[in-house]
Symmetry: D2
Amino acid sequence: MKKNKDPVYYGDYLGLDKLLSAQQPVSPQYGPEAHDETLFIIVHQAYELWFKQMIHELRSVLGIFREEHVADERLMTIVHRLKRMVTIQELLNQQINVMETMTAQDFLEFRDYLVPASGFQSIQFKEIEISLGVKRDKRIAFDQASFYNRINASDRAYLGSLEAQPDLFERVDAWLARMPFLQQDDFTFWEHYKNAIDQQLQHDEDIVRANSLLSDEEIAAELEELASTRENFSALFDSEKYQAMQDDGRVRLSQRAMQAALFIHLYSEEPVFNLPYQVLNALSDIDKNLTIWRYRHAMMVQRMLGSKIGTGGSSGHEYLKRTTEKNRIFADFMNLATYLLPKASLPPLPASVRASLRRGG
Amino acid sequence: MKKNKDPVYYGDYLGLDKLLSAQQPVSPQYGPEAHDETLFIIVHQAYELWFKQMIHELRSVLGIFREEHVADERLMTIVHRLKRMVTIQELLNQQINVMETMTAQDFLEFRDYLVPASGFQSIQFKEIEISLGVKRDKRIAFDQASFYNRINASDRAYLGSLEAQPDLFERVDAWLARMPFLQQDDFTFWEHYKNAIDQQLQHDEDIVRANSLLSDEEIAAELEELASTRENFSALFDSEKYQAMQDDGRVRLSQRAMQAALFIHLYSEEPVFNLPYQVLNALSDIDKNLTIWRYRHAMMVQRMLGSKIGTGGSSGHEYLKRTTEKNRIFADFMNLATYLLPKASLPPLPASVRASLRRGG
Amino acid sequence: MKKNKDPVYYGDYLGLDKLLSAQQPVSPQYGPEAHDETLFIIVHQAYELWFKQMIHELRSVLGIFREEHVADERLMTIVHRLKRMVTIQELLNQQINVMETMTAQDFLEFRDYLVPASGFQSIQFKEIEISLGVKRDKRIAFDQASFYNRINASDRAYLGSLEAQPDLFERVDAWLARMPFLQQDDFTFWEHYKNAIDQQLQHDEDIVRANSLLSDEEIAAELEELASTRENFSALFDSEKYQAMQDDGRVRLSQRAMQAALFIHLYSEEPVFNLPYQVLNALSDIDKNLTIWRYRHAMMVQRMLGSKIGTGGSSGHEYLKRTTEKNRIFADFMNLATYLLPKASLPPLPASVRASLRRGG
Amino acid sequence: MKKNKDPVYYGDYLGLDKLLSAQQPVSPQYGPEAHDETLFIIVHQAYELWFKQMIHELRSVLGIFREEHVADERLMTIVHRLKRMVTIQELLNQQINVMETMTAQDFLEFRDYLVPASGFQSIQFKEIEISLGVKRDKRIAFDQASFYNRINASDRAYLGSLEAQPDLFERVDAWLARMPFLQQDDFTFWEHYKNAIDQQLQHDEDIVRANSLLSDEEIAAELEELASTRENFSALFDSEKYQAMQDDGRVRLSQRAMQAALFIHLYSEEPVFNLPYQVLNALSDIDKNLTIWRYRHAMMVQRMLGSKIGTGGSSGHEYLKRTTEKNRIFADFMNLATYLLPKASLPPLPASVRASLRRGG
């Protein structure tokens, strides 16, 4: 390692002259400074610093996923960085507690001076959403109409170019879809698996019918749910049915990617699937933590504003609540549990698969 | 203090013979014991221990609120115990992380042996809900139909008797409604306040119209929201309109209680309102944490079961998500922010009020 | 509220041009950029933002404590802001988890380029320590020698001027010492209290002697501890003995302040003492959280560096561990539990005290 | 999967009749029940439930480590269960917050009735310590003398038999020591590595000497530290010197295990070392969390008791603080950072090693 060129000092290294001169409350222009305005500024600035870090990790993960073949060393790096993002998200969720130390009354002392600024204008937050895979056509109407109203042309262009690039969902879908074991003309395995699932669902049906604690209406509802599960399951292997599920938004992954994800979950205890399984888990955790953040943030906004307009001119919490569920990205992974089998029923992993993954998957 | 009668030993004192013999997995009846069944049992047992503690604190708080006049010493005790409940809830929410260390696959190894047991049968959890104020007629249909199907007659009777008693919501409503300052024939204050609010809402309307970043549709939506706020606000002082809001579930507090809660929030910085304000805050926190728990729990169930039936014969996560918002108890407090005024616009606290509270409120 | 002068935009309001251009890794000067250097920078920058917020709250609390008489409204503000500091500290302690996602190996990729920068050069952190009350003469030798070596003349002068001002410990000591009830010539109360304590300590001694599970050595050790407690207790009321305890660092509060703090704890359930008690509790929590942070930080440094030199040229973790206990500020409050009495033994609160506090304490 | 034999009901399944009848406060024998005694009981019972879970995971991990060759599938299970223990520990550390909602005053209302019960008598906690590897001869004197005074003969025998069995530290040491790559007569690698380390330490020395911010005393201290590091490092490869380090307690791992652990850290990014590296990390995390718990618990006891005797007849917090550092188990892993090299200086992994690990390590 080369000797460092010049001595490095803490304050310079961290750009503290910039960082610590960036807090410019506006309330003093109108009267005595509102004490809590500094908190409001610093909470948002801390969020923006962490957003920058999330983007730094995301970009590196997206870069690795671009590779035609993602070797195990690279998968280890992906898992490591996705897990770091999860750890940061846990901090960001707890950070809401700090904002909650500000009362609605104290916010009212300077809120009106901030119009029309709003968290909706955080370019980095939108970058994170876009890069993860919140699709524009899936955004709720409010966002589609307003998305570009609030930001300048340069930012608009930047986000537009981001949306044109493959996002993490797409990269992961492609990576799953090209998993070597799917190039097998080995339908015997899938037949074996389908039979095992059919038996499992029949077993579930027997359980429902035999459940003495359920009312007739409940039994009917359960059987309807099971029928729906059977349908969804058969769609896993029927291209037309699967396309229909994609068209009405019930699934998002491509069919091949869904089969691969299912396969990885079924055989998650096989060492060759250890790293892919950890990747899918980390993505589910990121999705979960982002959803929790949206929900907690919506509740905090509600307590801060009641039903009044947010500074950005929208009823903050209603908007945030509507986006909480609609902006899920990796929900398909969460639903895979529907299609698992007890280990005893699981067909043995085809030897050809184990070999192909050792060669390089 | 009297000298203790007999030496007390740790294991006896904590009833460890009972506590640590209460873990009886059922999987061994069917084959090798499922390793994760112990975790499943202990997580639920830990929840039940904490539910018992929550009930212990709730009962004592309910007892204090029964008093005709709740003196400051007693309010301090209430605040202390409500805050303890909030601290326990934070632990219970984090406890979900421990359950999440079990994979859906590992759960599948013993799930079917547990039928029809389900968290829906936790009597203590229902006791907490009922005692806080989750009203039976407000429960979703599923609960109303199934509530008594799954529990035995003795538990049914117990919960029925609980539902017949005043819950915490009702006690708090009554306590707020009898706050002395409302017995004032001092409508000058409310007139002054109404005018200030009208000005505030007009100001908000000006902000919306002047917001260059909003589209016409957005402006229209905002103005509609403001009109709705004006309506709700006027209902605060109009018995008929207020009753209508109660009838269609937009508010839950009685009109007098709502006015008192509003008053306390407006003057939260007055020392005489310090303790009442902390009570309302703690109740909001309890409601918030319970809501977060429901949401996180629903997500965990979804990941564990997919869309399949839970052990209790219902599609666990869908049920839980529907109850997340519908079972809010103290949501009215969160909406009070709609009716706040900046301090400069706030009418001075009537002297008669300060005096009446000193005498004893 | 005046209408705001100009529209305020999110990015401008938060100074994002400055904030997000302050991340300048140095590793690119030597080769490919070390991926984790950005994390290292952003973690420290986030800490510095929160340090700024802590200082903002600290300064306001110090300002209020300067007043000759701190009215209840002001005490409420103090408690609110101290509790906010506690909430921020909880976030800062959890933030260590984020740094811990960096491996020692990955740190090694750019560590040497940062020499001699070090967290020891954080001026804001030192400001927090000084303002809370970490006294220079109590700092360990390493700090005394090196304190001014690493920082420039301007920062040196600034911290020097801070040290010359009363810190929070001193302000709190003075506030406690001037509590009106101590101006009572009412020694009957203290006599009553001393007798009750003597009885309590005798009772504790009986318990020790009667404890069949203790060995003779243990009993001897316990009795020695009790004798020491008796000594410390009598020193509470004997100026010479108390001075001796201060001289050898066993207590830090002035005698009058210690008596007031004790009084507040004894009667913490009296409404007149509610706010003072919450102040002391918040200060203990701040001290506790800072101590936990030092400890966790030391462990993290050890894992990151082993026993090697930190970037600032000192064996980081050894230093940090030595400062963990030595830099306690409000430890006296934690030790008050030694002098409590069961409620039944507590002398009734003198009427004169209650009256004097109502008049204004 | 077989159909379950009988319907299983929630309350029966969880043994709630036992669990919820195990709370037997003693204060009612002496007067009105102390409200907080239930909290005290339930906090400790929750700890004991989680201790049981920790033991369940520990035993299974110990069982797997008994195997002569631990295949990757088994390592995955070990990592999964160790990480679960870490997640539980995080909950247990947060649980201290719940106990901290009890004031010293409220504890005093029933403390004396509990004599001589004490957490020192938790058999499960001692089992966890013993099973992890807290060695009896390393326990502080207080423990050695008192360990058997406070527990009955049956528990004494049980713990004695546990101490006679290999603990996790020993199992891990043996597993590391038999790693195949150490059976190489490939000293060329170690020579290459030693040279690289020598260069690294020389480089560190140059940095110290060139650090203009250090005083002469500091430079001397640093160079002394480096000399010590050189000594410790050479001991890694010199059996006599290493034995001396073991004899005076500076290291605990066997020499072969230490070399293996070092190797794994050096090449932690190689996929073949992914799982072993995760094992070592999880063990470090368990050690870290246990240490944090001891420290936080000591502070809580201090606040609760001051310097007075704990219920078990010892000055609780002093004892706990002394054990915090002395009872570290896997500290050797934390110190490995001392011996790392930047990737550019790292010798390439010998091909023979990669092959031997693929065959089965």
